[in-house]
């Protein structure tokens, strides 16, 4: 009996749930996902019942896995009734089954099963929303309400996505495997996209509460690490994505001030940036510089690295940054990249040039009406150029468009600065 309160590792159960679901799915097949989830649920119930009276095992992970394995063996024994063979053969068949099951619970096999689950959730026929929800549920052990909270959605919508995804997987007999050859590269692209989205949901969505957002970023990084650690799936782009996440995450704490106000990059206290994460970012970025592929993740990570390299905002290497954005634009000619490039352009070529670039973005009129970020950035540039009426008009529009209180607060401050 322990003499002082014991502390469970943060998110231990979530992580163990992901592991158990992956291993059991490999044993029972992806078509039995419901059964698998129920078995995992039972395992936690059992733990809850036994541990809470002070009998926490020394190795909780091993305990959970053992209980899940015993459940599995029981379930399979019940299914395998060898009525038509001798007792001797029946016993031998059962012991062989048990040995086979045992193999799936080996540490290396667990990682393998988890990756299979990641790749299955990221099946290209599922849409991105469903991929993300299913990944959070089955790989990350999130509950429906936690997913809803993290993705700023509601439980019914998440249930629907999960149902749709599971249906598809069952009906189309999607294989629970890590693809090989060209298929692997294609699928990896989808995996990166899902992880990138997971991370950004956590990093950018100022609607969700801070804790769950942090969890989401941590989870994206954990899964990205899992992908880069397996010899078959370790690719330069994966390392680049992981390094990008590290660089971004290093600023997680310094982006928000007291009472949830947003602190812009040029005002952030760079002392608060997490050095360890920045180091890891460089480490993975180095690891990504092999092969011939220069992915968007390479470029975005290099851009993030430029920010981390500069001791303060003023000494940022803007020309280098602009070059990186030019490369990025070639691969990802989206309005948002153009907008971000314009912000850099304002530093090198001046505010007027930046405004012109933004006004040249195809469909800019509609974007300004729909997404606060365009109005906010353009409004800010107008304010710097001295065109206060236009600045006010756009900042007000941005204010109306953003659902985030933190953003509203920031925009409010900018608007009141205009009157001075």
């Amino acid at each position: 009996m322990g003499s002082s309160p014991q502390q469970l590792v943060d998110h231990l159960f979530r992580h163990e749930a992901g592991k158990m679901i992956a291993v059991l799915t490999r044993i029972f097949g992806i078509h039995n996902l419901e059964l698998v989830e129920d078995t995992v649920q039972e395992t936690f119930l059992k733990a809850l019942q036994v541990w809470k009276f002070g009998a926490m095992p020394d190795n909780p992970s091993a305990w959970l896995m053992r209980v899940a394995r015993n459940h599995t063996v029981d379930l399979i024994r019940r299914q395998q009734k060898f009525a038509d063979v001798s007792t001797e053969l029946s016993m031998r068949l059962q012991s062989e089954t048990e040995i086979a099951i045992e193999q799936f619970f080996l540490e290396t096999e667990i990682a393998d099963s988890q990756l299979r689950m990641v790749f299955t959730c990221c099946h290209p026929d599922l849409n991105l929303e469903d991929q993300v929800a299913l990944t959070l549920k089955t790989v990350s052990g999130f509950g429906v309400q936690e997913i809803a909270k993290a993705l700023v959605s509601n439980e019914a919508a998440i249930q629907k996505r999960l149902y749709r995804a599971k249906e598809y997987i069952r009906e189309h007999d999607v294989r629970f495997e890590i693809p090989s050859g060209f298929a692997l590269n294609d699928r990896l692209e989808t995996v990166y996209m899902v992880l990138y989205l997971l991370f950004n949901e956590g990093y950018n969505s100022s609607k969700a509460d801070e804790l769950i957002r942090y969890d989401l970023c941590a989870e994206a990084m954990r899964l990205c690490k899992l992908v880069t650690e397996h010899k078959v799936t370790a690719q330069p782009s994966g390392f680049a994505l992981l390094s990008l996440m590290c660089f971004q995450a290093s600023r997680f704490e310094s982006r928000l001030g007291e009472d949830n106000t947003i602190i812009l990059l040029h005002q952030q206290d760079r002392q608060k940036w997490d050095r360890q994460l920045i180091q890891m970012g460089y480490h993975y970025l180095n690891g990504s510089s092999t092969g011939e592929v220069l992915s968007v993740y390479h470029l975005e990570s290099a851009i993030a690295a430029e920010h981390c390299l500069a001791p303060d905002f003023a000494s940022t290497n803007w020309p280098a940054m602009l070059r990186l954005y030019d490369y990025l634009l070639e691969q990802k000619p989206t309005p948002i990249v153009k907008l971000n490039r314009a912000i850099i352009l304002a530093q090198t070529a001046g505010v007027a040039a930046a405004i012109d670039t933004i006004l040249d973005i195809p469909g800019i009129a509609g974007l300004l009406e729909q997404h606060y970020i365009y109005a906010a950035v353009l409004g800010d540039l107008y304010s710097r150029s001295g065109n206060f009426p236009e600045a006010r008009r756009l900042l007000e529009k941005a204010y109306d468009l953003t659902p985030s209180l933190a953003e509203k607060k920031l925009l409010q401050e900018k608007m009141s600065a205009l009157t001075v």
């Binding site: 009996m1 322990g2 003499s3 002082s4 309160p5 014991q6 502390q7 469970l8 998110h11 231990l12 159960f13 979530r14 163990e16 749930a17 649920q41 936690f44 119930l45 733990a47 809850l48 019942q49 036994v50 541990w51 809470k52 009276f53 002070g54 926490m56 052990g141 999130f142 509950g143 429906v144 309400q145 936690e146």
Partner: protein, 114 residues
């Protein structure tokens, strides 16, 4: 100090459909409570009970499956603690983590047998 038995009724965790994170949080609360009692030298023992049970009663006793009205009304486990008085034992029971989940605690003094 005397021994007291805390009898827990409910909640029925089976029906709560906890997510892994919620299970972990519930678990941590229990570990904190029991750990604290333990550290203060008040914890004697305790055990959970499984949900299934039988009822044996009647002048010509019959074994039946009930009556256990609802999961949350049946006994889910017990704890034995040391306290100076029934009052103190009851105050210690305030630390029970499952009040919010509609769990209850019955506090009874154990009669010393020697």
């Amino acid at each position: 100090m005397k021994d007291f038995m805390l009898v827990f009724r409910g909640p029925s965790y089976e029906d709560l459909n906890f997510t892994p994170e919620q299970s972990q949080k519930a678990m941590q609360k229990w570990m904190d409570w029991i750990g604290k009692l333990s550290a203060e030298g008040r914890f004697v023992g305790g055990a959970p009970l499984t949900a299934e049970g039988k009822m044996v009663k009647g002048k010509k006793p019959l074994i039946t499956d009930g009556p256990f009205a609802e999961g949350k009304e049946s006994v889910g486990g017990y704890l034995i603690i040391k306290a100076d008085s029934l009052k103190e034992a009851s105050e210690m029971a305030l630390g029970f983590p499952d009040f919010e989940l509609e769990g209850t605690v019955e506090v009874r003094e154990i009669v010393p047998m020697a």
